[in-house]
Subunit: 522 residues, 2 copies
Amino acid sequence: MNGAKALIETLANCGVEVCFANPGTSEMHLVQALDSVPEMRSILSLFEGVCTGAADGYARMTGKPAATLLHLGPGLANGIANLHNARRARSPIINIVGNHPNFHTGLDAPLTSDIDTLARNYSSWIKTDSTSTTLAQDGANAFTASLRQTSGSAGQISTLIMGADAAWEKSAGIAKPNAFPQRAKVENCDVEAAAAAFNDKGKVMLLVEHHATSPEALIIASKISAHTGCRIVTGTFPARVEGGPNAPAIERLPYFPEQVLAMLSEVDQLILVGAQVPASFFAYQATPGLLVPENCTVSRLCRVEDDAIDALSKLASRLGASETSPILFEKKEIPKPAGGLNTKTVIQAVAATMPENLIVATDSGGGNAAYAYCQNSVPVSWLALTGGAIGQGSPVATGAAIACPDRPVLALLGDGGAAYTIQSLWTQARENLNVVTLIFANNSYNILNVEYSRLGVTEVGEVAASLFDMTNPKIDWVAIAKGFGIEGAYADTSEELCELLENAYENNGPFLIQANIKDRQP
Amino acid sequence: MNGAKALIETLANCGVEVCFANPGTSEMHLVQALDSVPEMRSILSLFEGVCTGAADGYARMTGKPAATLLHLGPGLANGIANLHNARRARSPIINIVGNHPNFHTGLDAPLTSDIDTLARNYSSWIKTDSTSTTLAQDGANAFTASLRQTSGSAGQISTLIMGADAAWEKSAGIAKPNAFPQRAKVENCDVEAAAAAFNDKGKVMLLVEHHATSPEALIIASKISAHTGCRIVTGTFPARVEGGPNAPAIERLPYFPEQVLAMLSEVDQLILVGAQVPASFFAYQATPGLLVPENCTVSRLCRVEDDAIDALSKLASRLGASETSPILFEKKEIPKPAGGLNTKTVIQAVAATMPENLIVATDSGGGNAAYAYCQNSVPVSWLALTGGAIGQGSPVATGAAIACPDRPVLALLGDGGAAYTIQSLWTQARENLNVVTLIFANNSYNILNVEYSRLGVTEVGEVAASLFDMTNPKIDWVAIAKGFGIEGAYADTSEELCELLENAYENNGPFLIQANIKDRQP
């Protein structure tokens, strides 16, 4: 058995079921191995950013790592923007990057570059020079590392860089899976410190992220909220939140720093539960970066790598809230909108037509604005743009659909972000995935118009205006969808949009809707 | 004057005329500066890989650096694959990457990442933490560094990473351009060593790359060839070669290692002129990586960073070849092909219809195979896929068209590579560039079929076959072109292809032709 076969069999034995691939010559033996291990499903994408974004979406929905198969430094580089988002989502992923053998690297062939350096940007685990005898164990270790919750800003992405000779040479055989890693439990002192915050008679807010936004964690947080009156808030762009009727009713931090400061100005005690201290998404001249008002005290119940369910259970027990009923979102009748399309009516159309158990993957554009409005519609999983690198939504939707073939998926994309990784549509067609892509077609990087005006510039010059403008030419997204093998349609009115959404959800396979919106609100 | 304005004015004064941009919030002050410096033309792309590839194409045609404007780590990451190609082309480029201010980085906002680490993969010059007072001088230094020929494998790409505060704070004003860097001259001993190779009565080959493929250098090399009978050969994927009738008649190294070895088996003395020792593009189990046969002696006339024109002049003088007439390609009548489309008839159609002074940008696919066939048609500039990172051809064609608005440009793309950076078409439409895109639509990563068979695998399994296959669904490139705002058409016969090419060259603006080829030859 060669190294490639030993690696793929080991990963399959660990529980890796999917490999999102765009291989090249240096990965041919890995392709051969994938051919012989039917437990691992291989999914081809036309661009590596689709592979890595899909692996992120898959991980958010399953909690398990998929593998990616990438071609040397440039193949990895093309996947980094979505690995950045995945790192921020703390998604487990195992990247397998083919390289020249060590004996070839010194010859400086055209594709030679420092791959290790690229991997350092986003990886929490890197193995640079696997050999055929270490490769299987390296794979098992990469799997474990991807699920071990580490501290600091690094996520849990593993990158295994292997010379082609490690794949083609004789291996020592399959490696046994390592023990499955467990999250750390919080100390009692942390629970006591958080509990003390409730004794100050001030207003308390729990800021929940990552493990603390899992359904079990949110139920407990909501019991604490019902018992104490505290607010439960996620970060601005949570990796995944289960919402909708009968899910815990929680809030979300807004985007702009003034909005966050205004929200937190009503808070005396901010308790971080797997969350970071709120910071401005960008730095501005006139507003602070750290968004904690002077009179707000910050404490921490648990770190991002800790077991938030355990931590919240202990806090609920300490506060006597374990038996309290949580506060849940209520089902409300959401009327279909009528008339012209703007951001508001598009969002209303989405909320009014959502099928049960929809997965929504957002990017830039109106996706985030839709969140609150959709929570009274149906049960929904919501996947936000965690790292700010646009071009996430379409790949993440693709991976989520692979992970959950029985659930409908909606990719809510701005047109700027959609243009980054639109090759996802081809993989959706190839795998006949139930992804409906809805593009907010305002023909603009509109957030930049907003940001530019925040500089205090009242007259936008010709060059600046042109750099935010996508009207010349306007992109025909339905034509692009056709090009990549999926059907699509334009919506110019709310009625058309609602009908297209309903039909798209009813039919099997992917579909794209271009919502021609007239306003320029973000 | 703030830092941004000082930087842009300094760069414009240095001679930077174009900025290929995809800005975000952290670059708003730079956008404002671009708005006020009309000497710098701003060109928007929908994806950063288009920006960096276009800067490469621009540099190959002008010898000058363009600027790119990129948005933090993910924006840079999206541009790295084509920066890798640009590094291999030794193209001067100045990347300006916006970042959070230092005081904001510690807050770990979503877009925070280690940008410096990414830049190390491809940069020969990096400035990480520019301030408003250093920014203008940093820009002047980045310009100089991009044109200073450095040794080793690094190209001459400069990356200037600047916090938004460096852009918005008060500057010390515009910086003066530095002295323009000069290439080093070779020592006489190098000339003598190369001249000695001609005295051995063996067969001599000059391997020319980079500065040694400039028109002036090739003329001198060709005089030496005419005088001594030596062969002149470029590397397999030269950054730019001027060819066609009345250009020096030179050869090119083939792609596969056995082919290179066969060619060099007839050579006793290999003289490197700005070139590397020939190495296999990939490593294989059964063939050597270093492609120099045992009886072939390698010497070096000049390094990649040296003045190759000077070095070749000295060698020609030493050999008494200065007054010899060079051997030039001859004009030949190339008949238009007839009947069905395959790689050969597509290449013949390209050669038969080429307009004078065409620029050809190739990627993977049939582009390289077309090279030799086109040298008897018309004067042509040929830009090859230097670094093996597919997705170069369309962006490089875009940048070449910006550089040379009066020349027609042909992007010769495989369908696999075209799918990487097809967003280029939108910029071509926006700027009304004279780029004809010809896609070899064989619906396959066909090189991988070839490479897989080289493993000795006779039966290609289902999974492997599916990973090389682009038929499910077949991509409709004309629809994608329409989506990005340019017209296109399908060619199923040689006659259709010739007519479409001729019409496309005659008309102003971009056009796409999908050549539906029936064979599967690389």
